[in-house]
């Protein structure tokens, strides 16, 4: 870091200058998406659906998509990756693909663990289905 000597070419050399308008546009997009997410989350809480589980699954899918969109804008605009050259974009995008199998395998096995326990440990299942009284806030202390 200290090693890079004063070189006027360097300061201007990094890609393009920032467009202040684009920054605020990105900010608005992020804000709108977040607000939409909140409306969906709260709306689900307020409205009583007959097929709650299905709606929740659809909602979670939407949340994933919206979250990835937000991530895209942060990375592309704020972190300026969208304006770097393709080599850098690809080099960073490729390893991220590893997350796909990382997530699938872990969640798959987590789900399977639940099923195994429910099948082979009936006591545990029975306990986990028992309704209990809510403690008063602060009661645990």
């Amino acid at each position: 870091m200290e090693h890079i000597q004063a070189n006027p070419a360097v300061a201007h050399g990094q890609g393009q200058n920032f467009d202040t308008k684009a920054i605020w546009r990105t900010f608005r997009i992020l804000l709108i998406i977040t607000v939409v997410e909140l409306i969906l989350a709260i709306g689900y809480y307020e409205i009583d659906f007959s097929n709650k589980h299905f709606v929740k699954h659809v909602l979670n899918g939407i949340f994933v998509i919206l979250t990835l969109t937000k991530a895209f804008y942060i990375i592309a605009e704020f972190m300026h990756l969208g304006h770097e050259i393709k080599n850098l974009i690809l080099t960073l995008a490729m390893p991220s693909l590893l997350f796909i199998w990382f997530i699938i395998a872990f969640l798959w096995d987590g789900n399977s663990y639940k099923n195994l326990r429910n099948n082979y440990d009936p006591y545990q299942k029975e306990q986990s289905l028992k309704k209990v009284e809510a403690k008063k806030p602060g009661a645990a202390e």
């Binding site: 870091m1 890079i4 300061a11 949340f63 872990f106």
Partner: protein
């Protein structure tokens, strides 16, 4: 300058960076990549445990309080929305600082770095408040007062993961604030002006945006799902 790059440039032939960036920025990117795997591992562990539980507490029922408001808010998730807003806002000020760095505008950089630090501190304060609040409700590592959404007894893992992951994120925010303060001091001392470039601000910026990026995922995983 994009125009300065000749068409058909042979990026990989050696003698130059194939990415058109200096090594420090490259290293920061790769570090963030690896940090993404740290956070990824945490969040995926959280998902795994959630998938292996028969039920889980409802975030809308847990996160209902707001500083200064007695009892529960009419709408849940209000406070976390504020936190999210603060963090995104501080990301914007960070970009503005970087943009001013590109224009070699020392006071612009200092001003926006200052706001970014304020944003970071505000976020940390919010988190401190939220933690304190949850602590007084009886939640902590190894303790979870909240019931599952279906009214059954929940395991402690809801609070375990919540405090561990938001704590780890908060730790990142904290180090980001420290880095930003150092950058601000160096800016004011004119270190970067002497060097003729504000690349360090860019690297600090990358880290700061990454913290924001992680929050986007933490937000989804803990407050929305």
């Amino acid at each position: 300058m994009a125009q300065a790059i000749p068409a058909g440039q042979k990026w990989w032939s050696g003698g130059k960076s194939p990415y058109n960036v200096e090594y420090g920025k490259l290293m920061m990117w790769f570090f963030l990549m690896s940090d993404a795997f740290t956070f990824g591992a945490f969040l995926i562990s959280y998902g795994t445990i959630r998938f292996s539980s028969n039920s889980w507490p409802d975030p809308n029922a847990v996160f209902r309080s707001f500083p200064g408001v007695r009892g529960e808010m009419p709408v849940p998730l209000a406070f976390v929305s504020l936190m999210t807003f603060i963090l995104i806002m501080s990301s914007v000020t960070m970009v503005l600082a970087v943009a001013n760095g590109h224009a070699n505008n020392k006071y612009g950089v200092a001003k926006w770095m200052g706001w970014t630090i304020v944003g970071g501190l505000a976020f940390l304060s919010c988190q401190a408040w939220e933690w304190t609040h949850l602590y007084h409700e009886g939640a902590w590592w190894g303790r979870n007062p909240f019931l599952n959404i279906d009214g059954t007894q929940s395991s402690t893992n809801f609070s375990n993961f919540f405090f561990t992951i938001t704590g780890f994120h908060g730790f990142h925010v904290f180090s980001g604030v420290v880095i930003n303060i150092i950058m601000l001091i160096m800016t004011l001392k004119g270190t970067f002006e002497q060097r003729g470039h504000y690349l360090m601000i860019e690297k600090a910026g990358l880290y700061w945006h990454f913290v924001d990026l992680v929050w986007v995922f933490v937000f989804t995983c803990f407050y929305l799902f």
